[in-house]
Subunit: 343 residues, 3 copies
């Protein structure tokens, strides 16, 4: 990236104050920005950085009035946060993208490959797999037999998709994530266990993003389902026959046990555990490290292990810290009562 | 799969009621089943589905007596759950299995490869590795030098086995799991740390299943040991010199610290953490998200972090929720006593 | 390894008591050692093993005086633990190491490859990547465009490093670890979410070790930073824009949320969760399974979720176990007071 401040102002529909010809080479946070950087001011708490930053340009709002001299060129826009997001995308799209099929990849002759795809070296596409247009499959990806990958989806290096699974359009699956491994199902058989074959699959909707090294198990029968717009962080564990509703967001290292159904537009923290065969409603918010062992109604806000109402949790946690004092007080009360009884 | 209901009845030793010629193409849960599906009724709670399911056939017990008309063909057997499990296996075995050595695999000339194996493209088998008969090694698997893999074992895509490790017979290791990475051992060395070389290995028994993206570290010296029949879920972390006894089952995301020994026939929930250098007995059951910091005797049932007796845990958790009320009651008692003392 | 006890004594600067010609083939723990093994005695708790071990030689301190006959050859040194560590390293270095570039690897013509490197089959090195001297890149490793890998660093099988990330010198990254995947950043956009491009990178210092299947996300802008000497265990999750200070050690399955800064020389247990945008000081110690939701001052020792002072935690945990009794006592106090008031 190498453009003038003026050019960026034109792109964002903004106006320049200061040197319009200063060269911008990269984007940075205001507290870290140096020469060549463009940054932005959206949160007033960061205003003092405007006067000290080494940035060459700053995207600011229409109402911003400096009360000290500013060295950087200012670009005024209506919504600096949104404008800077556009700039991030502009920067991101300027990075050259790979296309074509690299040598040393394995594509089964019966697989169907769409137009304008990238398939990296050492990628493996098994029989009857269907790869949509504009899909990017990075090196070391494994796409099993009969798998479908929708248009515009990106599978980063080392993603493994077992046979029969379906991934929608415009999804992003990060490196090392495994989709369609066997659900954890065993029947007791005397003193040992007998494996229950897992013959279902995983179905992932459109616009889903899944972080790195996550695991989504295939259903015993039927499908494990991740619906449109779901965002899952790194090291998520999703067991067999789980369903996750539209636009639900789940932070890293959370685990969801078998057959649990989660509604839409939920926000679930990191390292949460959910027991199997429960229903979590829509718009539910669950704090990090919680343990969910029962059904949860719509719109609830829970935290703790086992999880309780968030307000209760905060009060009880404060008291937990001083449980020893509480205990001493009770001992003292007993002493006083026993004295009173004797007198 | 495309067989008549009669053929399935013959396979299961059952009898047909209804159309014996209806074609069965797949297996499904009773609440999800549509045309072409065969399903089963084992739990009486699901009986009402028998009258509404779209399934073409249902496996039922000898004693089942419908009290409404049933559209689906019934197949009567002695134990519908067991019969359906057999059917799952029959289905699973009907899926064509890969054999042979695909091009683009790397097999060191000194490696010994058994009969009737599958070795996928981009698999890497290092020197002196020994691969038993009927083993299946999927693409992107790494088998280090001197590794032994027993007969009938399956290593799914991207499994990594470091040098010198041994895997028994008829094991299943799911995608992305790492076996034999260095134990986490460092000696303080002034303000930084010095690595303690990890020269042991991992030894895995027969009939072990390990889920996806798990990690089993090699021993500092000697072996990290997973005994026969152990079932480990996804994202398990097993540290150096740990031992896990026969037929113990551990759910996802649990971590076991160095040198801890776990007995046989234990059932351990997900997201449990165990400290190092402890002994957990046989037939122990541990609830999800527990923290185990001391030795555990045989047959104990524990939960909590730190873990306590499960009955205590449930009582205390209920009270924890209302700790603020408890606190208010004590304040009130103090007030009353102080008033009483003054009067 | 096949050397005499005398040769090992010479190596360690020790003196032999017993047969100097006994052949040593491997190293073992004193309680597991058999013929051909050399072991050591550092902790007096293990002294009784000296008389029963099957080891061929034992490294002992100058002051050790046996009070029963010892079958094994003794090698006396000043510090048996340190001497044995040297022996572990000697053994480790005697294992032949791979060098050279194996066929079936993919190296972009614009990548710069140092001297004396190992690049395994199916490794992928993208354009303009810079690989230092003596680096070892195992099979199935992915090194993205413009990545820098410092001298002497080892990337074990299946490590994935996204574009633009930098790894220092003499680092060890274990199998399946992902470096530089996108941070988990989304802006609400009506009922769904819009991805915030993650255009920063990951910068890892020198002498860092990272375990297997860990994930280190790239920064939104700027860098996620792991400083010199940091040791991270398996299945660590490090979010975007996190910084971890020099020589901090973190055990397995811990997760650190976005923009949190951790100081140097901290010791952090396994399965800990840290919220985002907090500061943890230097020399902090945090117990396993803790939840850190606020800034932590230097030298603090914390545990619990949410974490509190370790001494408080231990007291409160003991009382938590008996919360039901506490509750009964309060009920009894209320009864007595109510009786007292009536009388």
């Amino acid at each position: 990236m190498k453009v003038t401040a003026q050019k960026i102002a034109d792109l964002l529909g903004g106006t320049v104050e200061g040197n319009p010809d200063v060269m911008i080479t990269h984007l940075a946070k205001i507290e870290e920005a140096g020469e060549g950087a463009i940054t932005f001011l959206a949160n007033p708490r960061y205003t003092h950085h405007v006067y000290t930053t080494g940035a060459s340009a700053i995207v600011v709002g229409q109402s911003f009035e400096p009360d000290h001299p500013v060295k950087a060129t200012l670009i005024r826009v209506d919504d600096p946060y949104r404008a800077f997001s556009e700039l991030l995308e502009y920067y991101n799209e300027s990075i050259p993208k790979k296309t074509g099929i690299e040598p040393h990849s394995f594509i089964h002759p019966s697989a169907k490959i769409g137009k304008n795809v990238y398939i990296g070296a050492f990628a493996y596409i098994d029989e009857k797999a269907v790869i949509g247009d504009n899909v990017k499959i990075f090196p070391h990806v494994y796409v099993g037999a009969d798998v479908q990958v929708g248009e515009g989806t990106i599978l980063y290096p080392g993603v493994k998709v077992y046979h029969d699974c379906r991934i929608g359009r415009n999804c992003i699956i990060h490196a090392g994530t495994v989709i369609g491994s066997d659900g954890f199902g065993f029947a007791p058989n005397g003193s040992d266990y007998k494996k229950i074959p897992q013959i279902g699959n995983v179905v992932i909707g459109d616009n889903v993003e899944i972080g790195a090294n996550s695991t989504i198990d295939r259903a015993t029968m039927g499908s494990t389902i991740i619906r449109d717009g779901v965002k899952l962080d790194n090291q998520l564990q999703v067991a067999h026959n789980v369903e996750i509703g539209e636009n639900t967001v789940i932070a890293a290292q959370t685990g969801i046990s078998g057959s649990t159904k989660i509604g839409r537009n939920c926000q679930i923290g990191g390292q949460v555990g959910m027991t199997g065969h429960i229903r979590v409603g829509n718009n539910v918010r669950i704090g990090a490290q919680s343990g969910i062992i029962n059904d949860v109604e719509d719109n609830k806000v829970l935290i703790g292990s086992p999880a309780i109402d968030a307000v209760n949790f905060r009060k009880s946690s404060v008291l937990f810290k001083n449980l020893a004092e509480l205990y001493d007080e009770i001992k003292e009360l007993k002493r006083q009562i026993s004295k009173g009884n004797k007198s």
